[in-house]
């Protein structure tokens, strides 16, 4: 199979594609169309290796023409992994045509004889009337979720764990198909510094970079500890200051940062990190953040590193194995790919994976929204419920 990368004159006027295949961040924009290769990565912790191996095997059979050798040029795979190793649904897709903005220039990579022009707009799309999102229930009622949170708090107080993240979901329906392109545009506009992704129906805007690597250096950002935002600057600043000084949130954040550091220490020759957590302000909430940057001991791929880092304490808990068992027992639903690694990787192993947060699984006129909250010994169920309500509300309004 011939894989060819060419330089484009400027930003391509792309057609809309449902479901979209995309990654948009401050540094990288990758939009995919069609499917040249797809694999279900299966179950177990080996699903990351299996996906990577399959991508590598597929590349072996390709004749690659890429004079640029930039991050994202040449064949690129989009991948999205389930949170729980026991859950099916992990997937890797190589698009038939990939438009990449790398180092401020647009490139297009085609697999086979396809003409990329078929994905360029030739005429304006007529306006289609869309219905609003409508609530269709949840996997577990939020009263039951509150009781699960209380049970988790009891267990943490008894010393079984230090933190567990419990998620809940919202099912939505609409009388017309959800407009996924419009959703992507809204997410990019509303969360401009997040990682906006769309892989096999999982669409979201994550603030949390699990890993970025060029094969030699590695970066990650641990986010945990959340406060609301206010339209009034003084109140907003006070909320941020309270978050920075909150023992509960600082401890919750420390666990998340430590879980990232433990892994990165194993694979890096040198590692630097923020000395103290900083505030990461998003449209609807603000988080405590610690950024890590390191030099890898040996070259490693983004997918391998994502598999090693997942699940961090930011989305699982601490200790990891106990937290995962508690999630399985208490959460009352399968998270699917929510809170799992989602991102892209090129033939050199360069790539970025975020943690799939603030996201929805969308299929036609149906959607399933997810969110979660970190439970600590001094958590209050009503506060965690309110935190998840705000996060779900942000995602629901993006679908309107």
């Amino acid at each position: 199979m011939r894989v060819t990368t060419r330089l484009l004159d400027g930003p391509p006027p792309l057609v809309e594609h449902d479901p979209p295949l995309a990654w948009v961040s401050d540094d990288q924009t990758i939009i995919g169309f069609g499917e040249a290769f797809r694999i279900s990565a299966g179950l177990g912790t080996e699903r990351f290796d299996k996906a990577q191996q399959a991508f590598g095997d597929w590349i072996e059979g390709c004749q690659i023409e890429d004079d640029f050798d930039l991050p994202g040029t040449g064949p690129v795979a989009f991948a999205s992994f389930t949170f729980d190793s026991r859950s099916p649904g992990s997937v890797l897709i190589v698009p038939e045509v990939t438009f990449v903005k790398s180092r401020r220039r647009w490139h297009v990579t085609t697999v086979g004889d396809v003409d990329h022009a078929r994905y360029l707009v030739t005429e304006e799309r007529p306006e289609v009337e869309r219905d609003r999102p409508r609530f269709a229930g949840a996997s577990i009622p939020d009263v039951a979720w509150v009781e699960a949170v209380a049970e988790a708090i009891d267990r943490i107080r008894r010393g079984e764990a230090r933190k567990v993240v419990l998620a809940r979901d919202f099912a939505l329906w609409s009388r017309t198909r959800f407009d996924t392109t419009r959703l992507m545009a809204k997410l990019i506009e509303r969360f401009p510094h997040c990682f906006t992704f769309a892989v096999d129906g999982l669409i979201g805007a994550s603030p949390e970079l699990l890993v970025r690597t060029d094969g030699h250096t590695v970066s990650s950002v641990a986010l945990a500890g959340t406060a609301a935002r206010s339209p009034h600057p003084e109140i907003d600043e006070r909320l941020g200051s309270e978050l920075l000084n909150s023992d509960k949130d600082r401890f919750e954040h420390q666990l998340a940062a430590e879980s990232v550091e433990r892994v990165l220490e194993q694979v890096t020759a040198s590692l630097s990190k923020d000395e103290t957590p900083t505030l990461r302000k998003l449209d609807n909430v603000q988080h405590l953040a610690t950024a890590f940057d390191g030099v890898l001991r040996e070259p490693s791929s983004a997918m391998t590193l994502a598999g090693m880092l997942h699940p961090t304490a930011a989305v699982g808990g601490d200790p990891t194995d106990v937290a995962i068992e508690m999630i399985r027992e208490l959460e009352g639903m399968d998270r699917g790919r929510y809170a799992g690694p989602v991102g892209w990787m090129d033939q050199r192993g360069r790539g970025e994976f975020a943690i799939a947060l603030r996201c929805a699984e969308i299929s036609g006129a149906r959607a399933r929204l997810f969110t979660g909250a970190g439970i600590m010994s001094d958590s209050l169920p009503e506060n965690e419920l309110e935190e998840t309500r705000l996060k779900l509300g942000a995602m629901m309004s993006a679908l309107e």
Partner: protein, 164 residues
């Protein structure tokens, strides 16, 4: 809000009138059993200010009004309203109604209590009259506010249906 001195002879009567009539106060566990709502959720409702327990020697106690409030909440949840949204509505209702409630107390103090105290022949007579006034006015207030809110909900629901 008007603040009355604690040694006012009618204070005790008014405080008594504001206490629940129900002698059969329930413990948290009894309220949970009677309402079929878990203690976890009831404790949450207490912290949220939905129900205000009466402190007792063996712990918090709840009266029939509390039972009515949690049962009404449960009916809404069972009818499909998510608890998180219900709590948000309750917080908004509290924010909106609290200043009105303070104003209502002030109006009572200035126009009912002051007037009764001015015209009563004795402190005992004033106390009796005030107790009767509270007994009449508190349920009347609840009915008035409840009905007014019901009408507002119906008005907005009707408008929404017409719009759609």
């Amino acid at each position: 809000m008007t603040s009355e001195p604690n040694d006012d002879p009618t204070d005790a009567v008014l405080l008594d009138a504001l206490e629940p009539e129900d002698d059969e106060l329930l413990t948290l566990e009894e309220l949970a059993e009677t309402s079929h709502i878990s203690t976890v959720v009831i404790s949450m409702l207490v912290r949220e200010g939905w129900i205000v327990p009466h402190p007792g020697p063996g712990g918090d106690r709840f009266d029939r009004a509390d039972l009515g409030a949690v049962s009404a909440g449960l009916r809404l949840v069972e009818a499909g309203l998510p608890m998180a949204e219900l709590l948000d509505l309750a917080r908004r209702m509290d924010d909106a109604m609290d200043p009105v409630a303070q104003l209502a107390v002030d109006v009572f103090a200035r126009f009912v209590r002051d007037s009764v105290e001015a015209s009563a022949a004795s402190t005992d007579e004033a106390a009796t009259t005030l107790q009767r006034a509270v007994d009449e006015m508190l349920p009347a207030t609840a009915a008035l506010v409840g009905e007014h809110f019901r009408r507002l909900v119906v008005k907005h629901a009707t408008a929404r249906l017409v719009e759609e």
